[in-house]
């Protein structure tokens, strides 16, 4: 992959430019420009963090399900078992595996998101 510049640097540059023109925009476009910058930053995080997150998800789901496969296949198998009622909240390891996976995903999508704390 070309590294001069890297893809994440290009994204960063575009996001910075959109930020810089926001003060000139009408309220609607200023709002959309904020959304656009959020989108660019999510793409940047996915480029950087996505490969490790995917590898971890494959290892985690393989262990949970006792089968091998790529992420798409493992994810589909997990969904199928949940639909058939073969797994539920009481299944050992299910909630921790789902939690670890979604923590990696939220770190890409919205790292500042504060999830519920239930007493």
């Amino acid at each position: 992959m070309i590294e001069h510049p890297r893809a994440d640097e290009l994204i960063e540059a575009v996001a910075g430019w959109v930020e810089s023109i926001r003060p000139q925009l009408n309220p609607r476009d200023a709002f959309l420009s904020r959304v656009a910058v959020n989108a660019l930053n999510a793409v940047k995080r996915e480029l950087i963090q996505g490969p490790a997150a995917e590898a971890a998800a494959v290892a985690r789901l393989s262990a949970l399900l006792g089968v091998e496969g790529d992420l798409k296949a493992l994810n589909a198998e997990l969904c199928e078992r949940l639909r058939r009622g073969e797994m539920d909240v009481a299944t050992p390891g299910l909630i921790p595996a789902l939690k670890a996976g979604i923590e990696d995903q939220i770190a890409i999508d919205q790292p500042s998101y504060v999830s519920v704390k239930v007493r």
Binding site: P27, R28, A30, F31, L32, V35, A36, N38, A39, A42, N75, A76, L78, C79, L82, R83, G85, M87, D88, V89, L94, I95, L98, K99, I102, E103, Q105, I106, D109, Q110, S112, Y113, V114, S115, V116, K117, V118, R119
Partner: protein, 328 residues
Amino acid sequence: MEVDIPAALNALAPKLGGTGVEKAQRLTGGASMETWAFTLVGGGEPRPLILRRRAVPMDPETSRSASMAAEAALIRAAGHAGAPVAPLVRLCEPEDGLGEGHITGFVAGETLGRKIVADPRFDAVRPRLARQCGQVLARIHTIPMEATPLTTADAQGELDRYEAIYRSSGAERPILELALQHLRRNLPPPLPNVVLHGDFRNGNMMFDPDRGVAAVLDWELAHVGDPAEDLGWLCVNSWRFGRADRPVGGFGDYQDLLEGYIEAGGAEIPLSRVLFWQALGSLKWGIMCLMMYSSYATGATNSVERPMIGRRVSETEIDLVNLLEAGL
């Protein structure tokens, strides 16, 4: 179809009691509905008004929105029931050239959720808001069902509806699957139905820094159902704006909400029932986010807002996992 809103409002001004409009401006927010602020002039004191109109034609197959006519009837009925609303000025007619919409009075205050939870201007009133919301909901829930025709949906019906939307999206999301399964296995016992606002959350209310709740807005999702649905929806973490530690709208506690509800004549509702509907609310919002992404993926809309909303599914999933882990 693009409509020249300022021109159409200008033409409508005589029917509103003025000669023209000034400062017509589209406000931010709202992916399916447009909100415009404008000032009516030529009829004495300039009068600030608000237009709400459907930005894209309603799809009766996928949308559960009440018609704007039903929304207008509800605003009137809610006012009579003692809930704070922006008074209805006009339900738009086809010849108004504004599409489906209505015009209401302007109520001063703040709607931005993050300001309500964090702006020092609201520090003094914030501790009272959860109780006020309980009181307002109790009044809304006394609206007579004959006020306007509305759809009815209980928890089972909501799960059926949103599962069907999720299935048709083609997405495979294990946390949504688990939440669907778990909520189906733990349906609360039935309660008498009431008229629900259907979208009662921080972001759909006008707050005044001195008085608190000044107006309940955005009645398009009103329907008939379980009173705990409205209370649970207000507590969905997606509209706590970073203040997950304050479960009611990012500004208050469950106990104040439930006590306010009883004080204003509402039934006693157990917290577990509110938590059930809060979890169902996170699930619904997650599936709505998927649906809004779908409208981009199929080419129905092209705004940058729509695909990015698809990346908010994960916030509902992390909340659902945490709720399920805690046993709801």
